[in-house]
């Protein structure tokens, strides 16, 4: 666990979410969320389903645009209001700097592992075939999937697919990695291999925002934990406090229920 | 767009449309009968009968309908079959339609859950009784929509008889294109009339489908 994230208020935030608000018609899913993440920090967001945690994560790279508020990455506003064509150009560039890993992997089934990882670098960064392959091999080696580089996603297990998905995101050299319940869809035996890769990334000081149900993993890897419920951040703090001795009753209630479910 | 001309020729197209409708109705009836026969053949206990059914489907779906029409109309006399163009059209297209409908009907019958058949046989019903009282009633419901698709194709296929000079919609369109040099107008009149026929038929099929589902 790194300690860079302990110096909070002086440094300019790396990811800055200001007054994030999201409504679907009359239903308010995010109500005035403010969150600042420093470079190299690892933040976990926990909470019951419907709390808005995934919505918040997906707003960061504008996959589900906010209806109010701003999201900043370093000195760029991600959800800038721009005319359509300019917006498209802008968001595509920004997204290259944000890596995202999905609950259901979303690997491209018609491409091999190699194809999945090299697609974006070749198309968007103009890498040659040789350079892209080298890059892919590096990233896949990092996640331990190098020997399956010419396999198709359908031939891989869930944990293997997710590791490839992580390599695919890393190949674009992002500044921030977003994880949307990355292990929720995996069989229990396969969760550990993905957690190990995420731990490795943490050790390399990648800025990470992780939406998760895995409390023990969050505790061991993260600098900060946010508990969200019904569209607001109820409480936040370092993992030792949040998991052992939270202040809010709602946090206590959620953890009690959740841990009971995990250890019947 | 020469509307005046279109008005003048419209009565001819209307008359031709009735021929198209007549052709469609007759070929559909023939097609349904042959389809039922073909489906029973393909589901028969006897391998030879099954083979003949499969051959019928394979040959008539695997060769152009136009050629089938030509063999019957132009080649028929050589083997003692003398038909006028209209008769050749109905019989030729009817046999062709029957091949497609065989598969549609057979598909609907096969789709009925095997458990139904097992339950019926277990209770003591014969193969025939099972088919008549358990399978067919349910299969009928399933086959209406897909048969509607076949009929839709059938209506458009009647255009082929223009090639053997039956005075229906497409023949009339060709005739007037030749004399007026206004292909777009003639296409439009014929096209709209075809679409009306198809639409009405489609509504009838939907109505039948709804009725079948209610019972």
């Amino acid at each position: 666990m790194n300690h860079e994230g302990d110096h909070m208020t002086d440094q300019k935030p790396f990811v800055d979410i200001r007054h994030a608000q999201k409504s679907y018609g009359v239903l308010e899913v995010l109500k005035d969320i403010n969150l600042q993440v420093q470079k190299g920090q690892i933040v976990a967001i926990i909470g019951p389903s419907g709390s808005g945690k995934s919505t918040l994560l997906r707003a960061i790279n504008d996959l589900d645009p906010l209806t109010g508020g701003e999201i900043w990455l370093e000195d760029k506003q991600i959800n800038m209001k721009l005319p359509h064509r300019q917006y498209e150009k802008h968001i595509n560039l920004v997204r290259q700097e944000i890596g995202m890993v999905f609950q259901h992997f979303n690997l491209f089934p018609h491409l091999t592992v190699r194809g999945n990882v090299t697609l974006a670098p070749k198309m968007l960064k103009g890498l040659s075939e040789a350079d892209a392959n080298k890059l892919a091999e590096e990233q896949l080696d990092k996640v331990g999937m190098l020997e399956r580089i010419d396999y198709y996603p359908s031939q891989l297990s869930g944990g293997q697919k997710q590791r490839v998905a992580i390599a695919r995101a890393l190949a674009m050299n992002p500044k921030v990695m977003l994880f949307d319940e990355a292990t929720s869809a995996l069989d229990p035996e396969l969760v550990e291999e993905v957690n190990l890769v995420m731990k490795k990334l943490a050790e390399e000081h990648m800025t990470m925002i992780i939406v998760t149900h895995e409390m023990s993993f969050a505790e061991s890897v993260c600098d900060r934990v946010l508990f969200m419920d019904q569209g607001v951040v109820v409480e936040e703090g370092p993992p030792e406090v949040m998991f052992r001795n939270p202040t809010s009753d709602r946090t206590k209630e959620f953890l009690r229920k959740h841990l009971a479910a995990q250890h019947p | 767009m020469d509307f005046e001309l279109m008005q003048k020729v419209f009565p001819f197209f209307l008359e031709a449309a009735w021929i198209t409708v007549l052709l469609s109705v007759l070929t559909t009836i023939l097609g349904l009968i042959l389809g039922a026969v073909g489906a029973s053949a393909r589901l028969s206990r006897f391998a030879l009968v099954r083979f003949l059914g499969a051959a019928y489907v394979s040959v008539f779906r695997g060769t152009p309908a136009l050629i089938q029409l030509f063999i019957l109309y132009f080649g028929g006399p050589q083997i003692g079959i003398q038909l006028d163009a209209f008769q050749a059209g109905v019989i030729g297209l009817g046999i062709n339609a029957g091949a497609y409908m065989t598969e549609t009907i057979r598909g609907a019958i096969i789709a009925i859950d095997k458990g139904q058949i097992e339950a019926a046989r277990t209770v003591g019903l014969s193969r025939f009784q099972t088919m008549r009282y358990v399978v067919l009633p349910q299969a009928m419901r399933l086959m209406i929509r897909p048969l509607g698709v076949n009929i839709n194709a059938m209506i458009k296929a009647t255009a082929l008889v223009a090639a053997i000079s039956v005075v229906e919609l497409t023949y009339t369109a060709q005739r007037f294109i030749g004399s007026t040099y206004k292909p777009f107008e003639m296409f439009l009149i014929a096209g709209v009339l075809y679409m009306i026929i198809i639409y009405i038929t489609g509504q009838a099929v939907s109505w039948l489908d709804r009725k079948a589902r209610i019972s």
Binding site: P109, L119 | A65, G76, Q78, A162, Q174, A190, G191
Partner: protein
């Protein structure tokens, strides 16, 4: 009058040349119908409304009218607007366009059926909508709709016989030439029926092979 198949060998070369043309016309029209179908599908799904509506109307018109009528329109219509195309071109365009409309319906269904997560993953990497469409969605959509598209290609082969009516020199017309000299329609039409059937069988086999190869990378 009876039957006499011995007249055939003399005209076999004309018939075989006709077969070659039929195969070429079928392949040409198939290519037009495939590319045209994909193009029309993208327009039907993603173009602005004032473009989508006329295309929808056009598709509706083409699916509700007989192919033969459409061939007359295209052949005589092109001459009308001053574009003098040889009948074979009109035939390929007519056939291609007719089936492009049907294929476009299939492609639209295929594109819409591609999992939303695929588009999200592609966009997340930074790909634009067009790039995501081209490299991620369309390849998957094509794989999914190969069986019905294959069936359309086979239907195209059989419908290619209709271009003989506008004077295109292919298999059916070659039979009619032979019949013109020998007055033996039954023999020659049965012969070409057999040839169409054989080509049909080859196309079905090819379709099965393509389907198998696609299965491997699913």
């Amino acid at each position: 009058m009876g039957l006499d198949f011995t007249v055939i060998p003399q005209y076999l070369d004309i018939i075989l040349w006709g077969s070659v043309w039929t195969i070429l016309i079928t392949l040409g029209a198939a290519a037009v119908s495939f590319i045209g179908g994909m193009f029309l599908a993208v327009i039907a799904l993603y173009a602005p409304l004032f473009v989508r509506l006329p295309f929808r109307a056009f598709a509706f018109l083409f699916m509700g009218t007989p192919l033969l009528l459409q061939l007359f329109l295209i052949y005589f219509g092109l001459v009308q607007v001053g574009i003098d195309v040889p009948a074979i071109m009109a035939g390929i365009i007519g056939l291609g366009l007719h089936f492009a409309v049907y294929n476009s319906e299939l492609f639209q269904t295929g594109i819409l059926a591609v999992d939303k997560g695929q588009i999200e993953a592609a966009r997340t990497l930074g790909l634009s909508r067009m790039q995501a469409l081209r490299k991620v969605v369309v390849p998957q959509a094509i794989r999914d709709v190969i069986p019905p598209i294959g069936n359309n290609m086979i239907a195209l082969l059989k419908d290619s016989a209709l271009v003989s009516v506008i004077g295109v020199s292919e298999l059916t017309l070659s039979a009619q030439r032979a019949i013109g000299s020998t007055y033996r329609p039954f023999e020659f039409y049965v012969l070409v029926a057999v040839i169409y059937y054989i080509i049909n069988i080859f196309m079905e086999a090819a379709q099965r092979r393509v389907e198998r190869r696609v299965q491997a990378s699913r």
